[in-house]
Amino acid sequence: MSEFYDNEFERFLQQQVKQHRMYPSDAVWKGIYKQVHGDKKWPGLYFIAILLIAALSVCTVFMDSKPIIYPQQMVAKVTVPPVDHMNPEQVTNETLKNISYNKQQPSAEALQEPIAVLPETLLIPEDQREYHFVGIKDAASDNGSENATTENNTSSQQSGVTTNLIEPTFENTNAETAVKPLTPAEQKLEKEVIETPKVEELVKQVEDTEATPILVNKKDQKINRWQYEVYITPSSNYKQTKDQKATQNSFNGPMQTNYGVSANEVIRYKPGMGVEFGFGALYSVSNKFKIKAGLQYNVRQYNIEAYAGSTELSSIVLRNGASIATVAKFRSASATNNEALLLNKYHQVSIPIGLEYAIVKGKIIGVNFAYSLQPTYTFSQSSYLLTSDYKSYADGTSMLRRWNINSGLEATLSMNVGDFQWKFGPQLRYQHLPTYTSQYPIKEYLIDYGFKIGFTKTIR
C-alpha cells in the first residue's frame, strides 16, 4: 500500500472513482431487510385478511340463527293424522272430509314435514300443544266425558288457537265398543262434532292467510336493536394543498422555500380511484336514530405529473428550521418531455364511530343520513412530496403522518329486501390532519368522493 500514491496513474484513478456514485434499486434494500429482519409481508394483506375473516364470521354467526318460519297452512295441515294411523272403525264423515282435503296435497308424508329447517317437535313446544278430538267418542264413555269433550272443542274455538292443532288422538281402539251402534247421546255428540265448523273453517282461514308466516319462536318476535352492516365504497380521490406560511421564518439558505408561487400552482395531479370497505355494528337508539362503530380499510391514491431528469441534490426545509438533504430525480417543471407519473398511494385502516339518522323511513324505502369520525392509521410504500424549492419531488414515505383523523358523510337510499336493508348513495370523506408530519411545510388534505353500496341486517 505504501507505493500506492507514488504513482500518478493510481492517484488519477482514485480521484475519478471517488466521485462516482450509483443508486441501487429498492429491491436491494428489500432484500437486505428481508434477510436481516425476516420476511415482512405487505401489512395491508393482514388488514384485508382480518377484515374479511371478521366480516365472514359475523355473517356466518348471524345467518345461522335464522328464525324458524312455519306457515299457518302447514300448521293446519298437520292437524289431520295420516290415514294409516287411524282406526278405520272410528272414522266419521267429517274425518273423511278432512282426509280427502289433505289428499289434494302431494302426500301424507309431505304434509307432516315442515317446510322450514326444524322438525315439527321443535317448532311447537310440547307443553303448548293442544289436542282436539276430531273422531267420534267411545260409546262406553259417560256423559261427563262427553261434556268434557264438547267443552274442549268449544274452548278451542273460543280461544282461537285451533291453528295449533297437530295430533288428534284416538283413545279407544277397543274392537268391541267400536262395533256397537251409536246411542242417541252419541249420535247427538257426533252431530255436534260434525257441525262444529272447526277444521274446514280453519283450512279456509288458513288459505286466506297462507302467505303470512308465523314466527313460532317467541324470542324472535322481540325487536332487536342491534344490526350489522357490510359495505364497499368505490371513490375518486382528490387532494387539497395549502402552503404553510410559518416556513417564512425558517431556513434562509440556498435551498430556501420558494415563495414566488403556491404549491397548488406547482403540483399538477390527477385524481385516482380508491376504495374503502368495512363492516360495523349499529345500535338503534330510537326508531330513526342509530349509533354505529366498525372497522374499515381504505385505499387512496392520486398521480402527480412530473418530469424525469438527472439526479440532483435537493432539500426539504422543515418548520423547525432543520432541513433534510435529499437526492431527487423528478422535477415539477422541465424543458424536456421526459414525463413521469408519480403515484401517491395510501393504505389506511380506520375505526369509524358515528351516527345515522333516518330522514325518511318507509316500509320498503328510506333515506338516511350518516356521519362518522374515523381515527385512521396510514401506511404507504409510494409517496412523493415537493421539495422546498418547489422544483423537485422527493420520497415522502418517511415523513408520512401515521395517525390521522377523517370524517365521513353519507346520504343513502335504503331498500328493504327480505331480511336485508340495502343501502346506496353518495359519500364524502375528508382528512382533517395533513398527510405528512407537522414539520413538513406544505399541507396536504385528502378528499374522497365515493358511492357507498352496502347492507344492514338485524342481529337476532
Binding site: 492517484r11 472513482v17 456514485r21 434499486s25 429498492d26 436491494v28 437486505i32 435529499t326 418517511s398
Partner: protein, 218 residues
C-alpha cells in the same frame, strides 16, 4: 410507483430508487452505529442510504453487470448489519464497510466462477474499443466504464491494487494466486487501461509514466 419513460442509460436508476434521504443533520454516525448494534431498522436504513451509492459504485467496478453489482451490494450490507458488533472504532467506519463490500465482491466472483473467465492478456489484446459506446457524461463515469471494459481478472487486480489500496501480497491471498501473478496482471491491466483511456480520448497520449497534469481533459 414512478413510471419513467425514455429510460436509456444503464446508469439510470430503476423505479422507486430515485430518492435517498441523507439526513446528516438528524442522525450522527455514532447514533447510526448505536442503532444498528440494536438492530434498529431506521438506523440501518439510514446507514444504507448514506453509503449505498458509494458502495454500489465499488461493486459495479468489480461486477459484470449492474444486476451482479446489486447482488454484491445486498450481500455486503447484510454482512455489515450482521457483523457490525465486530467494528471496533479503530478507523473510519466507511473504510470498514468498504472492506466488507470488497471482500464480498471477490467472494461473489469466486462463487460464481466469474473470476476465472478471462485472465490472460492475449484475449485482452483483441478488445474492440468503440468511442461511440461511451456516452460523454461525466469523466468519472467514463473512467469507471473504461475499467469495466477490462477482462475480469485484470479488472479485479487493478481495482484492488490501484483503487482499493491492497498490496500485491494481500491480493494474492485474496484471489488465491501468486504474488508475482498479481504484479504481472496489474502491469498488463494498467497498460491496457491506459490504451483504452487514450482511445476514448479521456487522456491525450499513452506514456510509460502517467502525467496527470498533461493528460486530463477538461
Amino acid at each position: 410507483m414512478a413510471n419513467i419513460p425514455n429510460k436509456s442509460s444503464s446508469e439510470q436508476k430503476p423505479k422507486m430508487s430515485i430518492f435517498r434521504f441523507e439526513s446528516h443533520l438528524i442522525m450522527t454516525e455514532e447514533s447510526i452505529i448505536f442503532g444498528c448494534l440494536h438492530n434498529d431498522p431506521a438506523s440501518q436504513r439510514e446507514l444504507y442510504n448514506r453509503y449505498s451509492p458509494k458502495m454500489l459504485s465499488v461493486c459495479y467496478r468489480f461486477a459484470q453487470s449492474r444486476e451482479d453489482a446489486e447482488d454484491m451490494l445486498q450481500e455486503g450490507f447484510i454482512k455489515v448489519f450482521t457483523q457490525i458488533h465486530t467494528f471496533q472504532n479503530k478507523g473510519a467506519f466507511e473504510g470498514w464497510i468498504r472492506r466488507i463490500i470488497v471482500h464480498t465482491c471477490i467472494n461473489f466472483l469466486k462463487k460464481y466462477k466469474k473470476f476465472n473467465e478471462a485472465v490472460d492478456l492475449a484475449n485482452a489484446g483483441y478488445l474492440s474499443i468503440k468511442e461511440e459506446t461511451m456516452p460523454s457524461i461525466m469523466q468519472a463515469k467514463q473512467v469507471v466504464e473504461c475499467i469495466r471494459i477490462l477482462p475480469v481478472g485484470y479488472r479485479t487486480v487493478l481495482n484492488l491494487y490501484a483503487i482499493e489500496g491492497y498490496s500485491h501480497k494481500e491480493i494474492a491471498g485474496m484471489l488465491d494466486i501468486e504474488e508475482s501473478t498479481s504484479r504481472s496482471q496489474y502491469t498488463r491491466a494498467k497498460s491496457m487501461l491506459e490504451g483504452i483511456l487514450v482511445k476514448k480520448k479521456i487522456v491525450d497520449k499513452p506514456s510509460e509514466r502517467f502525467h496527470l497534469a498533461t493528460v486530463l481533459k477538461s
